[in-house]
Symmetry: none
């Protein structure tokens, strides 16, 4: 059984994702979660604390996705996996990631912590694949990654499968 703390976090995530952070009051969270408003502050001290917990969740989920890179043996497979990540996000997680991306744009400073890790791995991959300017190529893929995420999360493309294929083809995958 889920703890009340977990229920609060899940509910906040749900509402933040659906309505946005500022548009979601702690009162609504408490009501939908079926707990008292005070309990939110006991567990997360702040409304900001709630948001941080969610962003932490985002980091973990991101981390988990990136950790899978190592499961693939060849650089080719790794690159193929990476380029497919945005398209593989299950629909039920879309609003979650949309929330995190929206926060990126609102926040004063972009948190590059996780993404820089991905960047490092991409450099390695391109080295193995014999690319000339590996850092630059990695930067390009990072940029492409944001483009893919934007496309997947914000637009209603029917031809996403084909775009995905095109991207892979551009890297001979």
């Amino acid at each position: 059984m889920k703890s009340k703390k977990e229920i609060i976090l899940d509910t906040a995530l749900d509402l933040f994702a659906k309505k946005g952070y500022t548009a979601t009051s702690t009162a609504k969270i408490a009501k939908q979660a079926g707990v008292s408003e005070g309990l939110i502050f006991r567990h997360f001290s702040n409304k900001d604390g709630l948001l941080n917990a969610i962003m932490e969740l985002g980091k973990e989920k991101g981390q988990a996705l990136f950790n899978l890179i190592q499961e693939f043996d060849t650089a080719k497979d790794q690159l193929r996996y990476i380029l497919q990540i945005p398209f593989q996000i299950p629909i039920e997680e879309h609003s979650f990631w949309k929330l995190l991306y929206a926060l990126k744009w609102q926040a004063d400073s972009y948190d590059e912590e996780i993404s820089s890790q991905l960047s490092v791995e991409l450099v390695e991959i391109f080295k193995k694949l014999g690319y000339e300017n590996c850092e630059l190529e990695a930067s390009y893929v990072m940029l492409l990654f944001d483009g893919m995420a934007t496309s997947v999360l914000l637009k209603s493309h029917k031809d996403q499968k084909e775009i995905q294929q095109l991207i892979l083809k551009k890297y001979n995958l």
Copy 2:
């Protein structure tokens, strides 16, 4: 001399861009603009009206950028121009476009009006350039475009010149 209406709009734009829409109160706008708070509502009827006026401004600026495409004679030049747009945004306009992108992620529906126009033009360009699947290639560039915007507006501006070169090179430009 600027009308008070214009001053309000400029101030709102400035504050929305710096602090975000919800975090900016009409009181702050009025104070910084040096007008009474009531005047904001007389001219824009809503806080939302203020935002809409700004988004209209974004459409116009976007439109202006896209209209320049026709100034170039060859498809090659046109594509080169398009691929450089995000990198050419003057720094003083960064916060403006950052605001508009942030709104995209917050709003319930992504306004594809202008961007779809760009999409159409890209299809034309790729036809002229003899690409096989022109629609798909156009979609890819659109995706790339969002990636470039994200990179330019959110990330550190280190190797952007080089990325720009790389992108052009990938299209033999």
Copy 3:
């Protein structure tokens, strides 16, 4: 052709009657009257001034109704006329009188000026009709008068014609 002052007064009357005094803003009056907001204050100095003008109108209309009493020769005819006044108000004037009655209930002090005049006349009438306690009977009719007004203006009686008959019958009219 009506002067702008008259148009303003008519419009104010219409809106006050329909929506109530406080719920009607001078902006709405100006808009519906097709004049500038400033003009209202030039002509009536206050929003209260507008209301006073309307109440003055009410006094005049009331006065006019009461003046007709003298047109009847016999006390009987006069009483019959008085008892029928509330029922004779044309429907298009209902909202006007409803407004005036509503104001009576809101105002701090009931303005008895006109009604006291009616009271005096009633006493005369009852004297002529040979009633014992004429003052008291007049007071009773005054009370009845308010009851009739309330009935006519607030309730949707289908049997108003019959009530009217009953009242007349009670005074052998």
Copy 4:
């Protein structure tokens, strides 16, 4: 000891009665009640909610008065009681009932719920008393009732005792 909710309601009643609904701000209520303004909305959600609560109170008080009718054994006693109700209202409740009557005139729809019940009982009474047209006579008393209320609540209290006697006498009571 009274709950803060009750204190708020009492204060609102007091101020609404004295100054009117629209002229009384929630800030004033909060101040006089010695509570925070927010608490008003937590308990009554709306300023309207506050008013509804008061009108509910009016219904209950009215109901209580009408319920007493059954306590009298004969139709005569019942009618006498009814005809005296408006005159029996204690002075300290005058502003309360004045408020409710004022609302009747302002509201878009006259709430006939309770009064229709009284109407039904009057018909019964007149049947027992052997009146010919009982419905009509009941309607007349209802009208008289409003007249009495207007007289008691709005006008000077000079000869009210005598008017009361006169009314009773007209029904041989």
